[in-house]
C-alpha cells in the first residue's frame, strides 16, 4: 500500500497536476463559504471542463472541490450561523456562540485544525483499509441501515440544549417534513401541494431557513444584535493548553465516526457530524456546556464531516458506486473520459487510483495552509456592521437556494422555514433536531419497508443478521444507560431553564 501511495504522490507532485489539486480545494473552499451554493452546483458547472482534461486531473479537481467545500462550510456557520453545506449545520451549534462571545478566531482555528486531522485520518483509512471497509459496507443491507438509523434517532434527541421533551418533539416534526413528497416504496404522493414538492423538501431550504433566515429576521432591526467583540491577536486565535488537551478525544472520536459513516454509501457527511456531536454530548461530563460555545462540540463534528468526505471515496473508488450525488458527478466525469469505474479501477488504472488518493493527502495540507492565514481576514468580516451585512446575506441565500434546483418554490420555502425557525426559537424549540429527523426519518422508513418487502415481513431478520443484532444491542444499551443515569441523577428540577440569550 505504502509503495503505491508513494507512486500516487509522485503523480500529484508534478506541477501540472498539483495546480488542479490547488485549484480544486481553493474553489471548493470558496463555494463552501457561500451559503446554498454547494459542491454539486460547482462541480456540475465545471463538468464540461473535464472534457478537455485527462481523467486524473479531472478527478483531482472535482474531488478537491468536494472536500474543500467541507472546509469552507464551517466558516459561514461559525461567523454568521449560515450552514453553507448540510453537514455544517452541526458546526453552527457551538461555533456560532463562540463567535458571539468574541472568540471567532479561536473557533475558526479549531474548526480548520479538526477538519485537517479528520481529513488526514480519513485519507489514511482510505489508503490502508479501503478493501476491508468495502467489505463491511457491502454487509450493510436494509435491516442494518434501519437499525443504524434507530440508533441515530435515539442519539438525535440528545442534540438540543433545552428540554428533552421539546427536542424530541422537534425530531418528530423533522420526520414529518421528511415524509413530504413521493413515497419511495409505492410512489404515492404524500402532502404534495404542488409538483415542485414531489421530490420532497430540499434540505438546503430547510437548513438555510431554520438557521440563516431566522437569525436575520431576529437581528435585522437596528441594535438588534450587539456587535461581538473582536480579538485578533495570535494568542486569542490559538487555544490555551488546557483547551488544546480537551480536544484530542473529540477529534479522534469524531474522525472514527466520520470515517465509518463516510464509507457507507448513502449516509454521508451530514449524518456523521450529527452522530459525533450526539456522542460527545452523551458521554461528556459536562453536557450542559454544549450549544453554548463548547470547543469539543465544534471539533468533533468538524473532524467527522471531513473524515467522512474522504472515506466517502471508498465505495466510489473500489466499487464504482457513488455514495451521494456529488460522487455520482465525479463518476460521471470518469465515464466521460472513457474510464469505467468499478472494481477493476485499482488494477487497470493504478496511477489514476493512487494519484487521486494522494491528492487528498496533499489537498488537506493545502487547505490547512490557506485556512490559517485567512482566519484573521474572516474575523474582520464581523467588523462590518450587521446592518450592512444582512442584505447581502439575504441575496446570497436567495441565489444559492434558487441555483440549487432552479426553483422559485425553494426560495419561498426557505423564507417559510425562516419564519418558522424564528418563531420556534421564540418558544424555546431548537432547530437542529428538526434537521436530524428530516435526514434520518426517510432513511428509517425506506429501509424498514424495504426489509419487510425483501424478507416478507419477518421481524426476526433484525436479530438474525449479526450487524443488525449488534446495532440493536447498542440501542438497547443506550436506552438502559439513559434510564439508569436519569434515575441516579434524579434531583429536584433546577430552577429556570437556560434562556437563549442574544
Amino acid at each position: 500500500m505504502i509503495d503505491q501511495f508513494l507512486l500516487g504522490l509522485s503523480v500529484v507532485l508534478q506541477p501540472d497536476v498539483l495546480i488542479y489539486a490547488f485549484a480544486g480545494v481553493f474553489i471548493g473552499q470558496l463555494i463552501g463559504v457561500l451559503p446554498g451554493i454547494g459542491a454539486i452546483t460547482a462541480i456540475s458547472l465545471l463538468l464540461p471542463i473535464t472534457f478537455y482534461l485527462d481523467a486524473t486531473a479531472s478527478m483531482i479537481l472535482l474531488a478537491g472541490i468536494y472536500y474543500g467545500s467541507q472546509y469552507g462550510g464551517s466558516i459561514a456557520s461559525i461567523l454568521l450561523n449560515l450552514p453553507g453545506t448540510p453537514s455544517s449545520v452541526v458546526t453552527c451549534l457551538d461555533g456560532y456562540p463562540l463567535a458571539q462571545n468574541g472568540r471567532a478566531g479561536l473557533a475558526l482555528f479549531v474548526a480548520a485544525f479538526s477538519s485537517f486531522i479528520g481529513g488526514m485520518i480519513g485519507v489514511s483509512i482510505l489508503v490502508l483499509a479501503a478493501i476491508p471497509m468495502t467489505t463491511i459496507a457491502l454487509r450493510f443491507g436494509a435491516p442494518e441501515y434501519a437499525m443504524l438509523v434507530v440508533l441515530g434517532l435515539l442519539a438525535a434527541s440528545l442534540i438540543g440544549t433545552g428540554s428533552q421533551l421539546r427536542s424530541f418533539a422537534m425530531v418528530l416534526v423533522g420526520i414529518a417534513l421528511g415524509v413530504v413528497g413521493a413515497d419511495a416504496t409505492t410512489g404515492f404522493y404524500r402532502f404534495v401541494a404542488m409538483p415542485e414538492l414531489a421530490d420532497g423538501i430540499s434540505l438546503v431550504s430547510l437548513a438555510m431557513g431554520l438557521f440563516g433566515v431566522s437569525e436575520i429576521i431576529r437581528h435585522a432591526t437596528h441594535h438588534g444584535r450587539p456587535t461581538p467583540r473582536l480579538n485578533l491577536k495570535i494568542r486569542d486565535i490559538l487555544p490555551t493548553r488546557a483547551e488544546a488537551r480537551s480536544l484530542g478525544g473529540p477529534i479522534l472520536r469524531g474522525s472514527a465516526i466520520g470515517s465509518f459513516f463516510g464509507a457507507l454509501p448513502g449516509t454521508g457527511a451530514a449524518i456523521a457530524s450529527f452522530m459525533s456531536y450526539a456522542t460527545e454530548k452523551r458521554f461528556s461530563r459536562t453536557p450542559g456546556k454544549f450549544g453554548k460555545g463548547h470547543l469539543p462540540g465544534l471539533s468533533a463534528p468538524e473532524a467527522a464531516n471531513n473524515a467522512a468526505s474522504q472515506t466517502g471515496f471508498i465505495p466510489t473508488l473500489t466499487l464504482g458506486i457513488p455514495g451521494d450525488a456529488v460522487m455520482a458527478l465525479i463518476i460521471g466525469a470518469l465515464i466521460l473520459n472513457g474510464i469505467i469505474p468499478g472494481p477493476r479501477l485499482m488494477v487497470d488504472q493504478p496511477l489514476l487510483f493512487w494519484g487521486v488518493i494522494a491528492s487528498f493527502f496533499v489537498g488537506n495540507i493545502i487547505l490547512l495552509l490557506i485556512n490559517i492565514p485567512l482566519i484573521r481576514l474572516w474575523v474582520l468580516l464581523l467588523r462590518i456592521p450587521y446592518q450592512k451585512l444582512y442584505p447581502i446575506i439575504i441575496v446570497m441565500i436567495c441565489v444559492g437556494v434558487y441555483s440549487h434546483r432552479t426553483s422559485v418554490v425553494d426560495v419561498v420555502l426557505t423564507l417559510a422555514f425562516g419564519i418558522v425557525g424564528y418563531l420556534m426559537k421564540s418558544y424555546r424549540f431548537e432547530p437542529a433536531p428538526v434537521l436530524l429527523g428530516f435526514v434520518l426519518g426517510p432513511l428509517l422508513e425506506d429501509n424498514f419497508r424495504r426489509t419487510m418487502l425483501i424478507y416478507r415481513g419477518d421481524f426476526l431478520i433484525f436479530v438474525e443478521r449479526p450487524i443488525s443484532a449488534g446495532l440493536l444491542a447498542c440501542t438497547t444499551a443506550l436506552i438502559v444507560f439513559s434510564v439508569y443515569s436519569a434515575i441516579r441523577n434524579r434531583r429536584p428540577p433546577a430552577g429556570l431553564p437556560a434562556k437563549n440569550e442574544h
Binding site: A220, V395, I397, V408, M452
Partner: protein, 156 residues
C-alpha cells in the same frame, strides 16, 4: 422590540407552543387520513405519516400540560415585526422576479427592500449601497461563478 409587561405570561400565551404543535399534528392527521395505511409488516404510504402525527399530538399534549402547570416558563420576546416583514418582502420579491426579469433586477430590489428592516435606514444610503451590492452580486455569481441564470430575462 419593547419588552412585554413584566408579569407572568398569560395562560393563553403559555399554551401557544403546545397548541401550535397540536395543530400541526392534527392537520397532518386530517390531510393524511385518506392515505392507505396497511399494517406494520406491509406498510402503506399512510402508515408513517399517521404514526408520526399521533406521536406529535401526544408530545404536544404533554408540552401543553407542562407549560400550563409550570409558573416560571421563560417569557418569549416580542416579535421583531420589522425584520419579519421586510425580510419576507425581500425574499418574495426575489422569488417573483428571478424567473421573469432575471438575476440583476431581482437582486437589486431584494437588497433595497431588505435594508428597510433596519429602522435607521436612509433612502440615499440604501440607494448607494444597493447599487454596490448588486454590482458585487453580479460579479460574484455571473462573472466569477458563471451560474446559469440570465442577468436580465427578456420580457415576452
Amino acid at each position: 422590540m419593547t419588552p412585554d409587561n413584566p408579569q407572568q405570561p398569560t395562560a393563553l400565551s403559555r399554551a401557544l407552543s403546545g397548541g401550535v404543535l397540536m395543530a400541526v399534528g392534527i392537520g397532518m392527521l386530517v390531510i393524511g387520513w385518506s392515505y392507505p395505511v396497511g399494517q406494520l409488516t406491509q406498510m402503506g404510504p399512510g402508515y408513517v405519516p399517521r404514526a408520526i402525527a399521533i406521536f406529535i399530538c401526544v408530545m404536544a399534549a404533554t408540552i401543553l400540560v407542562i407549560d400550563l402547570r409550570s409558573t416560571d416558563v421563560a417569557r418569549s420576546d416580542g416579535l421583531h415585526w420589522r425584520g419579519l416583514i421586510f425580510v419576507s418582502a425581500a425574499m418574495l420579491i426575489f422569488a417573483t422576479l428571478v424567473d421573469v426579469a432575471g438575476l440583476v433586477p431581482s437582486m437589486f430590489l431584494a437588497v433595497a427592500v431588505s435594508m428597510f428592516a433596519d429602522r435607521q435606514a436612509k433612502p440615499l444610503t440604501v440607494l448607494i449601497y444597493t447599487v454596490l451590492a448588486t454590482f458585487a452580486g453580479w460579479l460574484l455569481f455571473l462573472v466569477i461563478l458563471e451560474l446559469p441564470i440570465p442577468a436580465f430575462r427578456r420580457w415576452s
